[in-house]
Amino acid sequence: MSRMQRLQLTLAAVLLAPALALAQEIKVGGIFDLTGITADVGKPYAQGVRDAVQWVNENGGVNGKKIRLVDSDYGYKIPEANATYKRLTGTEKVILINGWGTGDTEALKAVVAADKVPYFSASFSAHLTDPAKTPYNFFVGPSYSDVLRAWLFWVKEDWKDKSRNPRVAFFYGDNAYGKSPIEAGRRFCKEIGIDLVAEEVLPGIVQDATSQLLDMKQKGADYAFTQVTVTNFSVVLRDAKKLGLATKWGSNTWGFGENLIAVARDAADGVVAAMLNPPFGEGVPGMAKVVEFHKKNHPGDKHDTNYVRGWSYVMVWSEGLKRADKAKALTGEGIKAALETLKDFDVGGLAAPVTYTSADHRPTTKVSLYQIQGGKIVKLSDQEQPRKQEWLGL
């Protein structure tokens, strides 16, 4: 081979390599909140997704194909989520989207069904689990409603005075996220014999919850569940401590985590809440790679459960991509069908094992309850809910 020929060959190889790499690439969209009202939890989640994608690519990819994550911040603004979606599907031609909150998920649910784009998001609203209504929506973890039922079940067990039913209050915001599990909670209270004595509505940004707390105190609630965020929940806890209330507090995943202890400090002691993902660094099998990645790439960063959540999402949908790729069906429809073959898919304890079927998108009904004890997050129990048909979508 002459030198010229060799040069030409090298040149051709150099020119072709990116084209080949491009063909072996799977484009996935990301719609994250890095600057909006939920950025406090949205940023670690987005970082988790990004890091996990890099990890998957470094460890074999999707049957050798690399995932390219095209992500964008939408600042929790719905028109911008719409525009971003159009850019991701129209210009970038992504085949799956990892989204974020209630706002973008709800605004896009009809469109993703029409366009057949599987849409993973961290809005755990039970009404997204019925494929008859939202066939292309997915999330990883128990729904808000299942979490509330599990907590109510714990209340029933924790209540020792058998002369009367325990009294419970709900705290929630006047928005889609806040109201999501309330109807399910009301019904379940009746079913298992808990008296729901108060429902207190909180504003979007809570600065003072005294009036709601006094109302609750007057109605004599022994337990209270909040469907808010960490910032708002810590205001409620602070005011409750100030008023000297003996109420036992509960929360869903967005009101709980490492940062609740950091913000509310000793007022957070005794709170029982669901965590859909373990705290960062907990000794579950799947955590080893997360910690290793953290040590290798950004050892100075601090991480929390939301970061782990990002990882668990990628573990689930990349498995869907792998199965779809094996079936030679890397399309929206193919990925949906592949995801619906997941049965008790284990993500190494980063989240509860995931099952999707074509008639039921409840990923799991297992809820892990944790309690803050002396400034530490301690696991209480796993509550396995029955997968009742009448609870689908409620």
Binding site: L34, S72, I78, P79, N82, K86, V111, D174, N175, A176
Partner: protein
């Protein structure tokens, strides 16, 4: 040789297009726009539709704030009224868009006039507070009137429809939104050549003098609220048709503030300025997003820095505009035009 702008007739003074060139340039621009859907991606069409819709709302707000001098923070609420009215009429009643859009505008005009009543007694910041109340009242109603608005849950809107024609893509919607925006801008431009428009401007400049020369101030203030809200209601109807699914979360108070930003940056009391401002405020975040997205791709470690940088830059650009071009983009545009018209002897 021209060396200045001299008008010798009233007709020339009131003309919409000062020179034949500007008229033909406008026509040419609209014709060029008509060709856009053939080449643009859905993303850019979506952005352009949003610019056109924001222009309608900004022209509406400018009629009230820029031309009549009544400051309003109720614009997001009026958009919501127009959008929910459209959702109700197009959804259960199944009316075509030729009916829903004007009806939504008319209903919003009524609501706007109701909330305009305090303007009889209130001025300036006090009126801003009263219209802010309108925002919270409308938000509360939208959150709790479940049977019509779907409450906090989202309500979906069918595609804009007229007989067998359904405007279900961005490209089709483009041909409704952009001509409508052009027509409404022309209408507003004409409005200020009429008795009513001159009365609005008289109230803005000095309400007591206006009363003295025979303008019934309260009636015209209410009329201004009505006309302005009609525009905003039409924009709200288009928002509903574009988003296809709406909730109270689509109409936060920051939207009302964005719209005030549009008319301040574009130019208070200028129809053209409203359109410039709407385009500027809508395009700036998109352009910054694409730029920061590009930077993030180059420097993946800095993604968390670039995203917040975008919101910071947005604020900075607005402040710089207010400092260096307080009369708005419309004034700058006039200066640029005058420079070329008189080139090279602009003195």
């Amino acid at each position: 040789m021209r060396c200045g702008d001299f008008r010798t007739t009233y007709a020339a003074d009131a003309a919409i297009f000062e020179t034949p060139i500007s008229r033909w340039a406008t026509v040419g621009f609209l014709v060029a726009l008509a060709a856009v859907p053939a080449v643009a991606s859905t993303y850019w069409l979506d952005v352009l539709n949003r610019v056109a819709i924001a222009s309608i709302a900004a022209v509406g707000l400018n009629i009230l704030t820029g031309f009549t001098g009544q400051i309003s923070l109720g614009n997001a609420a009026f958009l919501a009224v127009g959008a929910y009215a459209t959702a109700a009429m197009a959804g259960s009643a199944g009316l075509p868009f030729v009916a829903t859009i004007p009806l939504a505008g008319a209903l919003t005009a009524l609501v706007g006039m109701v909330f305009g009543v305090p303007s009889l007694r209130l001025k300036g910041l006090y009126l801003a507070m009263a219209t802010l109340a309108a925002h919270f009242i409308v938000e509360f109603v939208a959150n709790h009137w479940d049977s019509v608005t779907g409450g906090v849950n989202w309500i979906s809107v069918p595609a804009a429809r007229l007989g067998p024609l359904a405007l279900d893509t961005d490209a089709k919607l483009f041909y409704l939104v952009v001509p409508l925006a052009a027509f409404l801008a022309l209408f507003a431009k004409n409005l200020f050549r009429t008795r009513v428009g001159k009365a609005f401007v008289a109230i803005r400049d000095q309400d007591i003098s206006a009363e003295v020369i025979g303008v019934r101030v309260f009636r015209y203030k209410l009329l201004s609220f009505g006309v302005s809200s009609f525009y905003v209601g039409v924009a709200g109807a288009l928002v509903a048709y574009q988003a296809r699914i709406i909730s109270p979360e689509n109409f936060p108070i920051t939207l009302a503030i964005d719209q005030l930003g549009m008319i301040i940056i574009g130019g208070l009391g200028s129809v053209q300025g409203s359109i410039f401002g709407a385009a500027f405020i809508t395009l700036l975040p998109e352009v910054l997003r694409l730029a920061t997205g590009e930077l993030s791709a180059q420097f993946p470690g800095l993604t968390d820095l670039f995203a917040p940088l975008r919101t910071g830059l947005f604020g900075l650009v607005i402040v710089l505009f207010l400092v260096f071009e307080p009369d708005g983009l419309a004034a700058r545009w006039r200066l640029i035009k005058a420079y070329w018209k008189l080139y090279p002897f602009s003195y």
